[in-house]
Symmetry: C2
Subunit: 585 residues, 2 copies
């Protein structure tokens, strides 16, 4: 090594040692006769020290000429600092430098290499290799490494085998859009990049691998909303000879292991909630259970009192915000405007202020007596000082809107602390959902998910009512993982494809190999996949996944650092037997 020590390891006990450090110039302070250089590497910062008169002038000159981000190799003696810095682990010592070698120079970086950088997003993405020098970004990727390590330790301990599944697979139209790869050796044919290793992990169960996992890149060619990436990473798992309870138990174990070993947090066992209850009480299939503020349905006590808005509503439903009774007119107006935004979609907001003196003040006093409002309050278990919000209308839309309001109030009341974690299993998802776009049923999870046996009889008569053996792990209102018990016999799989509008021929062309595999002794099996990027950002307390990915792409799917995608040569196109169509401007 060019160094004897890293910039993070010298302590007072190392005083008098002759050392060689390498790293980057973080800062240079030149007081004329005294010169300090903060030398940085991945492990920390150590202060170098040079004194006029006691140091070779050429050496001083070399140190003075070193700008920010120069790469230095410095030899010297560890000495105790006069003024110690207890904010850094190496703060008790400095290096009295005896020689300096400039290993490389640096142009002035386009933004500061500091936790709070002055660089905007675009600049940081273009110079990602400089952005990665910042502690916050590097630490995010170190956290990711630790998450992967601990995931493997946990799953290895349970006899899971990590198996690599292929990246060049087959395009299938079900689900999201595939990225495809033209095959040169098979002209006119294409591979697809996997949206998940779903069929392969199921085949591994058919093969008797019993317990499989993989931390694996997956790909979706979707229009990128904020914080979505065309390539992303999953913790992908599958088990055979299990029930749903076994999966929930095993992977709740994984999440608790990660919290314990990465964050030092003892997470309690994870409660289960049915999809129906999640929708009823939180208006979302991924409720944030860091805080209560559950929905209370009010149809029975609000309808038939002459308030047309409620009377005509499919659902009247509300939440109670603790201690908010004294919200001002302005605050209430703002919230009303908020729920009326097109993306929230409510028509208006009814509120009831439960005054400290036991009286009530509401926006619907005209229709409801004090006694009426008292009944409402009782239903919410509202106390004096609380504020009740009520929305009404079409059930699905109203729940969706109230979910948004609940989350906004959770934020307002500081109930969504990033350092608190609440996990939840949402279970019993519907098997199918109707798409108005395509005018057919779609698999809510995917076509391989097993219906609940007791609901099979509804598949013909009332497909929307069929529940699946499917489950999501939700943490702090974010879906971090999801999975299901799979179909493992050909007949059910074929029935499922036909319900999803596949012709027999299409089903056979795309998934014939899987259905055939089911005829050779497929065991009962099921699994789960966690969104690893998201899980890491959640553990890191960040809103965005971007800094948990070393080289992310922007919202146009571009890597602006390497400037790709890009054109390829005519020779490449010819070899691949494809043409690019003229691009309409």
């Amino acid at each position: 090594m060019l160094r004897t020590h890293t910039c993070g390891e010298l302590r007072i006990s190392d005083v008098n040692k002759e050392v060689t450090l390498t790293g980057w110039v973080q800062r240079l302070r030149d007081k004329g006769s005294l010169l300090w250089v903060d030398l940085r590497d991945r492990y920390g910062i150590t202060q170098l020290f040079l004194e006029e008169g006691k140091t070779d002038p050429a050496l001083l000159q070399a140190a003075r000429s070193a700008g920010r981000e120069y790469v230095l190799k410095a030899k010297g003696t560890v000495v105790e600092r006069l003024s110690k810095n207890d904010k850094m682990p190496t703060g008790d010592v400095e290096i009295r430098v005896t020689s300096i070698e400039v290993l490389n120079t640096s142009k002035t970086p386009p933004f500061t290499i500091e936790d709070n950088t002055d660089g905007g997003d675009d600049l940081r993405m273009k110079y990602r290799y400089l952005d990665l020098r910042r502690n916050v970004v590097r630490e995010s990727l170190q956290l990711r490494h630790k998450m992967a390590q601990q995931t493997r330790i946990y799953l290895d301990s349970l006899n899971f085998i990590e198996v690599e599944t292929p990246v060049l697979i087959k395009s299938t139209p079900e689900g999201a859009r595939d990225f495809v790869v033209p095959s040169r050796m098979n002209p006119g044919e294409f591979y697809a990049l996997p949206q998940s290793p779903q069929t392969f992990k199921q085949l591994l169960m058919v093969s008797g691998f019993d317990r499989y996992y993989q931390i694996v890149k997956c790909f979706r060619d979707e229009d990128l909303r904020a914080d979505r990436q065309p390539e992303f990473t999953q913790i992908d798992c599958e088990m055979a000879f299990i029930t749903q309870e076994d999966i929930l138990y095993t992977f709740e174990g994984l999440v608790r292991h990660l919290f314990k070993n990465v964050k030092g947090i003892d997470m309690p066992s994870v409660p289960h909630m049915s999809y129906d209850d999640a929708m009823k009480y939180y208006g979302s299939d991924k409720p944030d259970t860091r805080f209560e503020m559950k929905f209370v349905e009010l149809n029975d006590i609000t309808q038939g009192k002459g308030f047309q808005v409620f009377d005509s509503a499919e659902l009247v439903v509300g939440i109670c915000a603790k201690g908010c009774a004294e919200y001002t007119r302005k605050q209430l107006d703002e919230l009303t405007e908020y729920v009326k935004k097109p993306q929230i979609g409510a028509k208006g907001l009814v509120y009831v202020q439960c005054k400290a003196d036991g009286t009530f003040k509401s926006s619907v006093d005209k229709f409801y007596s004090a006694d009426d409002l008292k009944t409402w309050a009782e239903k919410f278990n509202a106390q004096p000082g609380d504020l009740i919000f009520v929305l009404s209308g079409d059930a699905d839309k109203t729940r969706k809107a109230l979910n948004e309001l609940r989350l906004k109030m959770g934020d307002a009341l500081g109930l969504r602390d990033k350092n608190k974690f609440a996990a939840l299993w949402v279970i019993d998802f519907p098997l199918l959902e109707w798409s108005e776009d395509t005018n057919r049923w779609h698999a809510m999870h995917h076509p391989f998910t097993s219906p609940k046996p007791e609901d099979m009889k509804l598949l013909e008569s009332d497909p929307g009512k069929v529940r699946a053996n499917a489950y999501d792990m939700v943490i702090n209102g974010t879906e971090v993982g999801g999975g299901s018990i799979r179909i493992h016999d050909r007949a059910t799989q074929q029935l499922m494809f036909s319900k999803l509008g596949f012709s027999d021929e299409e089903a056979k062309k795309q998934f014939g190999f899987l259905m055939e595999a089911f005829e050779y002794g497929a065991p009962p099996h099921g699994g789960i996949a966690f969104g690893f990027d998201r899980l890491c950002s959640l553990f890191g307390g960040a809103d965005s996944i971007r800094d948990f990915i070393a080289f992310p792409k922007n919202n146009a799917g571009r890597d602006v650092m390497i400037d790709t995608p890009s054109t390829i040569s005519q020779e490449q196109l010819t070899e691949l037997n494809i043409l690019v169509k003229e691009i309409k401007k």
Copy 2:
């Protein structure tokens, strides 16, 4: 779990326990009144036992109807076997069955699920999920899992961080052919799949990550020779602030760690050999050093004696095969035919038999006296009973041919035992090699490899003589890994690109981001990549990598199980803005 125990864990100490096992029917032996079923899972085989008269007839019937590879759930009591089988860990016990549930039936598999299967390669590939049930294949993948685990344990212990680099990157013409991915959002533009994460790992060094690794899929669209796959896996590593010696030491450590922890083998420290010596003494840059049989050059003692073939040869070189003096005429003729095959390319084979009585018999007795041959023998340190082979001609071609003969003789003499391992560092590779095809210099390793500073002066005058700071790890004659110290300054990198025939514009378009990164304080760095598939097959003592990959592709790049590559829809092509050219039949 549907089971209480696996099929591999019950022992004599479990007798009298009530257990439930799940697994596949390996074999059914029906002796009329007695019925045995061997139930198999990933963990082993346990014998089930049913006795007419003592078992419910319906149960017997159920067991009898179960064919090979049926999936069963069997309950029963662990009992001691009357006739024990000490070849299997569970061989002391069997299960007296009290209930059987058929979890799934199976068609008769197209080949037997046995170590020595009757299935040919094509059938095994088509039904890979059944092939994976065979112990030998599953154990190969378990070995791979263990190799990956131990690799991570070793590298983690040395502060390496695993960082995922992107799969959708930029196409660059240098090196092998890229697989490309059309970008829907950027019409007319393409991503490429990485042939290696080379530039990204170098950028991580520029970022100060200091020590990086990744077990990562890479892609090459090459015509597939036997045992090459379009997607393959690398252990990819990079370190900063190091010398070549640090890399060799660190990764020799990895290989020794793997031998110790995966195979239980204490491997001695790995010798270094220069590329020049490897070529001179073994005629190969990946010599198999499990055995000696080094090349001996004979120009000085063989030329000028009137034997025109030797006199006109650039090189006269031979090997000595211990104890082969009594090879028959037929054997010698066969070896002569072997070296004359076009792919070996020798013109003929000269031999000297060192007889037990101290006399010599050679195919060139006409030209060389007994004393001459004695001099030869001394040069080889040949003993009575040994056989000397000599080839001659153009130096490069002759070395290449003699290398083949040496390996063949190694095989013949049993010197290439798959359970013996000899590792070697080959160092000081040439930086450049001349390509007759393209009429220009190519990078022997890749364009980012650093020339040896002391050879830089030759770059203009004699480019072929410039040595690189590049190294390969060779085990048993197979290159398992290779790497180099990298260029880390813009000027040298630019010079290198220009030597390789890049225009400034091309270099900038393709690698501008890297050269720009070098201007912001790039540290000295270097790295290595191991071919993980190959390394696993070597550890597994196998010739082919295929069974160390769960779902390999065939030599036409096809996955015959899922039947891909395949056509995609017109809608997909339209969205991607490409056309498939009409295919000429």
